[in-house]
């Protein structure tokens, strides 16, 4: 089997970034901002050109796409037609598998029945809804544009539009949140019976409106650590009781409904990022697209209007070069770094251990022939087992609940 054959058999994920929202949320430090309609359209066209430019490479390597994720920002601020055009371009450039998981993030405040139908029609088969809370007061504080009623309505519309795989994003450890307000949110959400629930603890990111408010003493107090951990435990127990399996630090799913795209991140699956700021991991190299919208546009917009209206996208410079290489859309890709084997091993561990199932020895040995887990991490694993933050499974190791609580502290030990 040649190397090319091997690659051909390897699946690829796509991440498509839509850096727009209607209003920046108070806690958000992602690459996203409100923009006018014209800018959004310009971005969509540039994005389509970027997608189309990958056609040669995708065909040559023959990799099929098994998951796609449209994230943001709020991809649903785009018009249905814009999403359709993006998806069309994807299908032109890539061989998208029939059973591919195609997710899109949806802000309940941007949903209407028609739009949702159009999204479904464009091939989106999984929605990730940023509900965050079922307490209006908490939603206001978060700076969300929707309220509880709209969230419920959006969920029902999604079902009606034919989405049978929906995730609900929730946030715990919010300022002013109490144990009972969190429990109420969980109860409410479970009644909807979504297939998947992500429950994140709020992290105060420096530079956000929240951090500034907190520094100024203008936020209600955060739940104390004990309450925070109680919420976390309760979440796990309560959701387990409703048929959701805890499979990653912040993720819960009905059996078989785990997010395949996100699992790919933890297991070293290759993915190609499209749009500004999007991260990629292809052929053992990590790289990112530039984060600056203007530069991105100036690079991808053709010099004359005629070409812009035309659909000749394959004549971009470097479109035949390997992804991330200097010739590959030079000026868009940054921070390209080919991982060494040591780095791959580190990632295998600190990403793999985020999964509740942990890592498997055999898997390790298959990925890194000639290397033994025991030789590299024997001491660390021994320490972690003794500290009770890790436990042995049938095939390998996983973090205990306590270990997950303090996973940053633990996982740092797996850096070589």
């Amino acid at each position: 089997m040649t190397l090319a054959d091997e690659k051909r058999r390897e699946a690829l994920s796509l991440y498509i970034h839509i850096p727009f929202c209607l209003k920046k949320c108070s806690y958000c430090d992602f690459l996203s901002a409100p923009q006018d309609e014209e800018t959004r359209e310009r971005y969509v066209r540039a994005l389509i050109r970027e997608i189309r430019s990958r056609k040669n490479w995708a065909e040559e390597t023959g990799r099929h796409v098994d998951t796609i994720f449209l994230g943001g920002g709020t991809p649903s601020v785009l018009a249905a037609d814009q999403i359709s055009r993006i998806m069309e371009a994807v299908h032109v450039s890539f061989d998208v598998g029939k059973d591919a998981e195609i997710s899109m993030e949806l802000n309940p405040g941007t949903a209407d029945q028609e739009k949702l139908r159009a999204f479904r029609q464009a091939g989106i088969n999984r929605l990730s809804m940023g509900v965050q809370s079922l307490q209006d007061q908490e939603l206001r504080l978060l700076g969300r544009i929707h309220n509880t009623g709209q969230a419920k309505e959006a969920f029902l519309m999604a079902r009606k539009a034919g989405f049978d795989n929906v995730n609900i994003d929730l946030m715990s450890a919010l300022p002013g949140q109490t144990f009972s307000s969190w429990a109420d949110t969980l109860t409410g959400i479970c009644a909807w019976e979504p297939e998947h629930i992500s429950a994140y603890s709020l992290i105060m990111e420096p530079g956000t409106e929240f951090a500034a408010l907190q520094d100024a003493g203008k936020l209600p107090s955060l739940p104390d650590e004990d309450t925070d951990r109680e919420m976390y435990r309760y979440t796990e127990d309560y959701l387990a009781g409703h048929g959701y399996r805890h499979y990653e630090i912040s993720n819960y799913a009905k059996p078989g409904r785990e997010c395949r795209h996100n699992c790919g991140y933890w297991t070293g699956h290759p993915y190609l990022g499209l749009g500004i700021g999007a991260a990629s991991y292809v052929d053992g190299a990590r790289f990112s697209n530039i984060a600056d919208l203007k530069t991105y546009l100036s690079y991808l917009e053709p010099a004359d209007e005629e070409a812009l209206s035309g659909e000749k996208m394959t004549d971009l410079p470097g479109s035949e070069s390997p992804p991330g290489s200097t010739a590959w859309l030079e000026g868009i890709c940054t921070d390209r770094h080919v991982l060494t084997e040591e780095e791959k091993i580190e990632e295998f561990m600190f990403l793999g251990l985020r999964m509740c199932g942990g890592i498997e020895k055999e898997d390790f040995e298959r990925r890194f022939p000639g290397r033994a887990l025991k030789d590299i991490y024997g001491k660390v694993i021994h320490k972690h087992l003794a500290q009770g933050v890790m436990e042995e499974t049938e095939k390998g190791f996983r973090l205990t609940k306590r270990g997950i609580d303090i996973s940053n502290y633990i996982l740092a030990d797996y850096l070589l």
Partner: protein, 605 residues
Amino acid sequence: MQKEITQDKIRNFCIVAHIDHGKSTLADRMIEKTGLLTSREMQDQVLDNMELERERGITIKSQAVRLVYNARDGQEYIFNLIDTPGHVDFNYEVSRSLAACDGAILVVDATQGIQAQTLANVYLALEHNLDVFPVINKIDLPSAQPEVVREEIEDVIGLDASDAPLISAKQGLGVEDVLEAVIRNIPAPDGDPDAPLKALIFDSLYDSYKGVIVFCRIRDGRLRRGTKVKMMATGASAEVVEVGYFGPGQFIPCEELSAGMVGYFTASIKNIRDARVGDTVTESERPCAEALPGYKKAQPMVYCGLYPAETPRYPDLRDALEKLQLNDASLFFEPETSLALGFGFRCGFLGLLHMEVILERLEREYDLDLISTAPGVVYKVYKTDGTMIELTNPSNLPEPSSIDRMEEPIVNAEIMVTTEFIGPIMQLCQERRGRYISTDYIETTRAVLKYELPLNEIIYDFFDALKSRSRGYASFDYELKGYEESKLVKMDILVNKEPVDALSFIVHADGAYERGRKMCEKLKDEIPRQLFDVPIQAAVGGRVIARETVRQMRKDVLAKCYGGDISRKKKLLEKQKEGKKRMQTVGNVEIPKEAFMNVLKLDTQ
């Protein structure tokens, strides 16, 4: 320019003063006036070579310079001016400089009058049989009261101040009067140039090309290139390679140094210890009958442990201390090991300022990152078996059952203060276990408070407290009185039930609870959370008197790992790992080394 220099045209002197009374400025003006440097070449305070000295405006190291003065009588004189430190901690430096002089200029600030160190330094000079004459400085200031100060000098010190020059060193007023007064009031050196060589080493310096540069004052005989010399105390011999005198900031070689002169020589001496400050240099073949008395070696009064923040730099710290010691014989050090801090040194200093200066020099000049333990004094521990040990490191305190009694050093402190602050200062001394002796009024608004104070009560922040409670007006000096029995206990700090040797200290039983409690509180804030609850305890002889708990780490999760941005996640873990590397493990607890430093920085207010 080497003309025949006769002894009667030489004057060897120094300037003594209370800190900030203008000693270094006067030295600068004298250098300028004698034409050694034009004022354009002058940098302020020429003699304060060290960066640190300029910055702090204090003189730490003695410096010597030769001036050639064309006097009003038409004669040319050679002045050897030796600048001395003004701070009480550096009395030892002063003392060794004085040994090279025949007289001293006493500078008194016309606005402040006599201060504590004015007295201390004058007495030191008189002890060395120096002729002292006063100069009243800063007469240009509006608040100057030269006549009042003149009277004060006569009343309090008993020096004739009737023709004391009134000057402003800053503005260059009256500097020539000072130069003339030097000729009049300071005796020319005596000594026989033809007798066997007898020279006092008053300082030295290490130069990587020339070896040790020995600063000396020739009492008898001559010293020139080729002279075979012997150090009388160490017995080391060497052949002189170069002799010379001191230009401002440079060494100027000359033919010969003879009786009465001050200068330097080099003799390819590689080992610092072979040319000990205070030793007498003589000729190998024609030794003098007996050595000069030298002077009393200063005993370190304050001790602390010094450790490199990065363990592999231990040898660098040792080298740096050795080099500093060459320049500063009063610095003492010996290796010690701490469970918490690794390999380091127990160091002895003359006082807290001396300690601070050494620490700063180590960090700046030798680029070392240091951790120092709490400063302590030397305790005398009398054991039940009749023996006595001098305790410089609290960790070495014997079992309580084998201790009969302990004594701590007591100082006689003189605090000069304006009367409005007498109350607050007395209260401060009371808080520091002071024993009141007397209040002497110098004039109606100023008094000298005399107290006996335990040294260990003044080594932390007494200066600062004094300054803040007197709005900067009080000045302070002390000398060791002796040892007295005291109710002392050793306080151990336990982290996760394990004593941390670097944090142990000796404290008076009455203040133990307070200190222990504060220590625990501070440590609690400095120790990062661990996987488990960490108790922090202060204990005296096994009895816990204060306790805090560092609660276990509850949550440290990066929940969202967005859009596959693994690099961001890794950076976060790397930061965490970096933090772990700087930790020292004590009793299963990871403690950053800075924590020790921060806890030991005692602000007892």
